[in-house]
């Protein structure tokens, strides 16, 4: 049973880490608290449900397609709905992203009235045994690809000049402006990228995770849990927090019902918020 918890927990945790990473980047670079992030995952899930790929190549193409769509969508949202809130105090950003999420949730509700649908397994094998635990191929491949993407993202952030610009904006926005970084463009790109990551995570989830519109909110909160616990210092904190969340869920649901497990996780999260609110400090605008 311990193995069962360990394997499923870690596999789920890697995907959570990927979802958390998207939010982490957006928060860290732009100081935007994006309550619609979980709904960007739904774009990936419902997107693939709608395309319904039947073979592995078509699945992969579809996944890239939804990522591209989500990136465009994210770009438009940032440009038209968030950019004007960036240097304003107040609740506009929070309420806009929450409302956007709600609108998306009910859009999916109308468009896909039948709950808990999934797609055919696109992978050419059905399940494998890891450490004596039978693992569904979709779950395994989702974790593998998530891990690969996480490594890729961290490489981009820490090793490329694109990532250097992101980190510059994150560490000192005025500094970034003084070295000639076009920060609104960086912001749009970051938001689009965060949305694309979320959509890819959704595309990876859908083969083994039946989808329902209310997942959006759950995933948003979970992504926040990951970012808050992981802290703002490094990508690896986020990854670790994702793994912890996955393990905690796996362990919890072995002993008590699923909804009670999430209750405990939410309460623990509340504690974390109280103990280290500096984990997510909302930086004041430096330029008007």
């Amino acid at each position: 049973m311990l193995m069962q918890i360990l394997v499923t927990g870690l596999l789920q945790g890697v995907i959570y880490a990927l979802i958390g990473l998207g939010l982490f980047l957006v928060f860290n670079v732009m100081r935007v608290v994006n309550f619609a992030h979980g709904y960007f995952v739904l774009i990936g899930m419902y997107g693939l449900l709608w395309i319904a790929p039947t073979s592995l190549p078509s699945y992969l193409v579809a996944a890239m397609g939804v990522a591209l769509f989500a990136a465009t969508f994210g770009y438009v949202i940032e440009r038209w709905l968030l950019e004007f809130t960036l240097h304003k105090p107040g609740h506009a950003q929070l309420v806009i992203t929450i409302s956007l999420g709600i609108a998306m949730q009910y859009f999916f509700q109308i468009k896909f009235p039948e709950p808990y649908q999934t797609i055919a397994n696109p992978w050419p094998f059905s399940s494998v045994e890891i450490l004596g635990v039978s693992v569904n191929s979709g779950r395994l491949m989702a974790a593998v690809i998530s891990l690969a993407l996480t490594v890729l993202i961290s490489w981009v952030v820490y090793r490329t000049s694109l990532g250097q610009n992101l980190r510059a904006c994150s560490q000192s926005l005025p500094g970034a402006v003084h070295v000639g970084i076009n920060f609104p463009r960086v912001y749009r790109g970051t938001f689009a990228f965060g949305a694309a990551i979320a959509a890819i995570a959704g595309a990876l989830l859908i083969p083994f995770q039946p989808v329902s519109p209310h997942f959006g909110l759950d995933l948003t909160i979970k992504a926040f849990i990951i970012v808050v616990i992981g802290g703002v210092a490094s990508i690896w904190g986020t990854v670790l927090a994702g793994l912890i969340l996955g393990l905690a869920e796996a362990a919890g649901s072995t002993f008590v019902s699923g909804s009670l497990t999430s209750s405990v996780i939410y309460l623990l999260f509340l504690l974390v918020i109280l103990v280290r609110p500096q984990g997510l400090i909302v930086r004041k605008a430096d330029f008007a």
Binding site: Q164, N165, R167, S172, G175, H178, V179, G180
Partner: protein
């Protein structure tokens, strides 16, 4: 004589209030121009206005004869107007080396690299010793040096230094001022904003004094140094603020 930067009728707003009112200012090529004034006279506001960080209007804002009014701050930097801000704004979680690399990478592929990284380390040997250290762990003097070096790494055509010696020990101030003098010798036009009137005017060819957002005197350095009226007026305010601060 060529003009590097020419400003006429510059007005800058902070929030709703107009802080800088109709300022004319010229930086000739290859020279150091001093901008003097007490705390709160509007020096930093003037610079942020020129760079496009604050709402501004100007009858003329020419960089080497090219009208750059309405440019975004990052376009200004790319056009060669580099400001080393008073608050430094370093990337604290990056190493000294990375701060400089980032800037030199941004300086545009086509521009000739006057200030190579090695040259910068020659200019600031202290930074060479601190290469791998995070910028957030540097001392005040080192931060100022890194800010200047980062500005130079952007390969500026005009360099604006906003109080590079602010809050530093006298011995460090001397070091930084002499380094600025060396930079000036390379022929880079510099607008130097300083409280150190004598040291600043010693290396500048021309000086402007501003008070409450307007230029009250503009003359050659020698004339400014000799003109007691201007200096006493300037110091009167300055002495007060120094007393208040200590």
């Amino acid at each position: 004589m060529d003009t590097a930067l020419s400003v006429q009728g510059l007005r800058v707003w902070r929030g709703r209030s107009e802080i800088v009112r109709s300022v004319d200012l010229t930086i000739p090529s290859g020279q150091v121009v001093a901008l003097l004034g007490a705390n709160g006279a509007g020096k930093t506001t003037l610079i942020e206005g020129m760079l496009g960080l604050l709402p501004m209007k100007a009858d003329k804002l020419d960089l080497f004869g090219q009208d750059v009014r309405g440019s975004q701050p990052w376009e200004m930097v790319r056009n060669g107007l580099v400001v080393v801000p008073q608050d430094r704004y370093l990337f604290t979680d990056m190493s000294v080396q990375e701060n400089l690399e980032l800037a030199s990478k941004r300086s545009g592929r086509s521009q000739e690299q006057v200030f190579e990284l090695d040259a910068l380390y020659d200019l600031f040997p202290r930074l060479a010793e601190r290469k791998g250290q995070f910028a957030g762990t540097l001392s005040g003097g080192e931060r100022s040096m890194l800010a200047i070096a980062r500005g130079l790494a952007l390969q500026p055509k005009v360099l604006v230094l906003d109080e590079p010696s602010l809050g530093l020990a006298p011995i460090v101030v001397d070091l930084i001022m002499s380094t600025i003098e060396r930079i000036a010798h390379s022929g880079l036009p510099i607008l130097l904003v300083e409280q150190n009137v004598h040291q600043t005017l010693a290396m500048a060819s021309w000086g402007y004094v501003i008070e409450s957002g307007a230029v009250t005197a503009s003359d050659s350095s020698e004339a400014l140094l000799r003109s007691d009226a201007i200096l006493s007026g300037y110091f009167a305010v300055d002495v007060e603020s120094v007393e208040g601060g200590s």
